[in-house]
């Protein structure tokens, strides 16, 4: 009896990691984009395009690795459209980002039409003999799929990049004051272009995680609003990679938890339960980042502002 309960608990915790990982990828991508001073609201669209490209690639080639690369490429390609619009044609970032999402929803539905219901073999969790077999800790620490670990590596690398590296400093400078950065001689537009492409690639990866691992199948609009959650996480995490990770896991955790509570037949409206992850995530992140000065210091001052070189 007890063994069964532990197994259930482990399954739940593995589910939390799977729910959180796509949010981490998308949030980190958007965080880098926003740190450069560009607000890209097209996260949801880029995730869907990544999801469908990854899925089709796996159906055709059978290789999940190729699938993830195809998804990153597709996300980056779509974001380059946005980059050209806002950086060279100086369109409004909010409107362009929203259009990108709507465009991405349509585009992914169009290309995915023939693949609805096609089965694929999802990427399996890694198994390190010995380590993964240790009771309880084994599956929890060593029993995830490779992307879960990659997400952690990405967060650490991003934190290091922004805080310690010269290029990270330049990226923050461009987001802080594009006029000053330009006057000192940094190529503002090129740096923002690169940041947008990175953001697109990460969103594509996040989408592919959903269609290849989380639920290995393709369905229209299958990201189900996770792109918007990722966007909100960036803001509530006050542009700090570590906090975005906490937020993503919190959201993933409460989502899985309330599903399990619902399946136990607790007599609370399912709609109310569905709100829980959102409320919990916002509450916790607001509480840990309520210091106004720190928010001002971390928020890119030029976020969403168009830049023209004199």
């Amino acid at each position: 009896m007890i063994g069964f309960e532990v197994e259930t608990l482990i399954a739940i915790l593995l589910g939390v990691a799977r729910g959180a990982t796509p949010l981490v990828f998308a949030a980190i991508g958007e965080l880098i984009t926003e740190k450069s001073g560009v607000l890209n609201l097209g996260v949801e669209g880029m995730m869907l395009v990544g999801a469908v490209s990854g899925f089709i690639t796996v159906v055709v080639t059978g290789s999940p690795i190729l699938g993830f690369f195809a998804a990153m490429l597709a996300g980056a390609l779509l974001s380059s459209l946005f980059a050209v619009l806002v950086l060279f044609l100086h369109t409004n970032q909010v409107a362009s980002g929203l259009s990108l999402t709507i465009f991405g929803i349509g585009l992914s539905a169009f290309f995915g039409l023939g693949y609805i219901g096609t089965p694929i073999k999802g990427l399996q969790a890694i198994h390190i003999s010995g380590l993964s077999d240790i009771a309880i800790i084994g599956p929890l620490v060593f029993g995830h799929d490779i992307m879960v670990y990659l997400a952690f590596v990405l967060v650490a690398a991003t934190a290091w990049f922004l805080g310690k590296s010269r290029w990270g400093m330049i990226l923050r400078a461009v987001g802080e004051s594009h006029h000053a950065a330009h006057a000192i001689g940094y190529p503002v537009v090129a740096i923002r272009f690169a940041a947008i492409l990175f953001g697109g690639a990460m969103c594509g990866l996040a989408g592919a995680y959903i269609s290849l691992i989380y639920t290995p199948m393709w369905a229209e609009n299958m990201t189900a609003g996770r792109g918007w959650i990722a966007l909100a996480l960036v803001v509530f995490a006050t542009w700090k990679p570590g906090r975005a990770l906490i937020g993503a896991y919190l959201f993933g955790g409460v989502t899985i938890l309330q599903l399990n509570v619902q399946s136990l037949g607790v007599d609370v409206s399912a709609h109310l339960m569905n709100m829980l992850p959102y409320i919990a995530t916002i509450l916790v992140l607001v509480l840990i980042s309520r210091d106004e000065t720190k928010i001002r210091l971390n928020a890119p001052a030029c976020l969403g502002k168009p830049f023209r070189a004199d």
Binding site: R166, M169, I170, R172, A173, E176, S177, H179, A180, A181, H182, A183, I184, G185, Y186, E292, T293, R296, L297, N298, A301, D310
Partner: protein
């Protein structure tokens, strides 16, 4: 002097913009170890010219020679490599980053930050510019921020430093300190290209001057041999009538009274107002001096009614509380307001002058009837303003943003004056305005005062305040010093007050009385 011995030489530099020619066949040269002034009014093309020397822009025609060799300066990194440094007018600093990071971003070397921090301390001590590399820019005063820019420049061992209006934001004491640094740099053989329109400073500091007017060089001179007046004439090209202040005009009753006003700025980077009290009488000009960011903007928006003040007794106009009234109701009581920012606050840039007249006047004039706009009346009023205040524009249908700074300011001030206000609040009346227009604006303000209007002028320009105000107070870190008659005050005293040393000025007074 043969060309090999010149540090910088410009030959026939020309830069065209769609709307105007910013620089037209500009020639001048800078010798090693000289402080060379670049003089001219706003819009004369000084900033464009130095942007080309620093590689931010490229000239359309002409040649730049650096230490005897023809060079093409593609970008600021290349200018820095040649030995050219620049201290910007609007500081090119990043608020949320540390001094160290700001310096690292602005130099070419890519060494470890630890070594750089040591060098910052070394250089800043050598030139008497104390700096803590770990502090964040937003915690620094304007003078300290400028130090960051100068130290960043000096770290590269420059042989030419370009300074664009370096003193416009400094207190008089800070200006003196800056000049000491600049002179010691000159002794070391460093050349300085000094841009300013403050003629007294140029007389005190510079060895030679090149004068620009409308993009062309109109003359070279030795500032020590010229008077401020003769240089001003070369800059403007015509005689300026500087309005004379009538002393001893009898002021009337208190018109605006501010009692113990304290209010948070709502912004962690800006000082909160701390028990500010003063009064402005009818028929006087009351000046508030201070370095930007010390609470002026907050005070102005509270007085204009853009931010409401919860304490009802804190703002009185002609004996009645106006603290709870919005801008429109205050206008109806006879308050007129000229904000600092002309485009976007004083006017809507994309709307015509006639429309902009309606926007601030619809409550107090007959431009609106039964909810309908009366365009013919608005155009007639706009034309009247344009004529009365000599606004140079295409007409009442011109967009506000098409006017030059000085002309737009004349229009805005004219628009407010024609409402016959009882109380006029003006922020930076002549900031970025050429000398001719500035004189006209000062004259208009003094005429209005003589008609019995109470006028509050908030300005960073001490010369301006001394020229027109009857009484002056100084705002520093959200606190306002007691007001004194301007003829009882010296520039040094105002300077100390600007630095927040209210007590020292009192001691000074006691010394004087003994």
């Amino acid at each position: 002097m043969s060309p090999e011995h010149l540090r910088l030489e410009l030959q026939g530099i020309t830069k065209k913009f769609p709307a105007c020619i910013a620089n037209d066949q500009v020639n001048f040269e800078v010798k090693p170890g000289e402080i060379h002034a670049l003089l001219g009014e706003n819009g004369a093309g000084k900033s464009t010219l130095v942007k080309m020397i620093y590689g931010i822009m490229q000239p359309d025609a002409g040649q730049i020679r650096w230490e005897g060799k023809n060079v093409q300066i593609d970008n600021p990194a290349m200018a820095r490599k040649l030995g050219i440094g620049m201290v910007f007018q609007h500081f090119s600093l990043f608020e949320s980053m540390s001094v160290l990071e700001n310096v690292a971003l602005g130099i070419n070397e890519k060494g470890p930050l630890k070594d750089l921090a040591k060098r910052i301390i070394e250089v800043s001590e050598k030139y008497g510019l104390p700096l803590d590399p770990m502090r964040h820019i937003h915690t620094l005063s304007v003078g300290e921020r400028q130090r960051v820019e100068i130290v960043r420049c000096l770290l590269q061992d420059p042989r030419l430093i370009i300074m664009d209006e370096p003193t416009s934001v400094l207190t008089p004491q800070e200006v003196d300190k800056l000049f000491v640094t600049l002179r010691s740099l000159r002794e070391e053989g460093c050349s300085i290209l000094y841009i300013s329109h403050k003629l007294d400073e140029i007389k005190a500091l510079c060895d030679r001057a090149t004068i620009l007017r409308a993009g062309k060089v109109v003359g070279y001179c030795d500032p020590s041999q010229e008077s401020a007046r003769s240089m001003a004439q070369m800059m403007v090209g015509e005689e300026i009538k500087i309005p004379a202040k009538k002393e001893g005009v009898q002021a009337g009753d208190d018109c605006l009274v501010v009692n113990n006003l304290s209010m948070s700025s709502g912004d962690v980077f800006v000082a909160d107002l701390d028990s500010v009290s003063f009064s402005v009488k009818s028929g006087e000009i009351f000046g508030i001096a201070g370095v930007a960011g010390n609470g002026q903007n907050n005070l102005l928006s509270i007085l204009a009614g853009e931010r409401l003040c919860p304490d009802d007794r804190s703002i009185l106009m002609n004996g009645r509380s106006i603290a709870h009234l919005g801008p429109q109701k205050r206008r109806k009581l006879g308050l007129a307001f000229v904000p600092e920012e002309r485009l976007g606050h004083g006017t809507v840039p994309e709307m015509s002058l006639a429309d902009n007249t309606v926007l601030s006047g619809h409550g107090v004039s007959d431009l609106v009837q039964m909810g309908w706009l009366r365009f013919s009346k608005a155009h007639a009023l706009a034309k009247k303003i344009i004529e009365a205040f000599d606004v140079r524009t295409g007409g009442s249908k011109s967009e506000a943003k098409s006017l030059s700074g000085g002309n737009l300011q004349k229009f805005i001030i004219g628009r407010e004056l024609l409402k016959n206000p009882k109380l006029l609040i003006v922020a930076q009346p002549t900031w970025g305005v050429d000398a001719g227009a500035a004189a006209a604006i000062h004259q208009a303000l003094m005429d209005l005062r003589d008609q019995g209007c109470a006028i509050l002028v908030v300005s960073q320009d001490l010369d301006e305040l001394f020229a027109i105000s009857d009484r002056i107070a100084v705002i520093s870190n959200g606190r306002l010093s007691p007001a004194r008659p301007s003829h009882d005050m010296s520039v040094e005293q105002v300077g100390l007050l600007m630095g927040g040393m209210f007590d020292q000025v009192d001691e000074w007074d006691e010394d004087a009385q003994r």
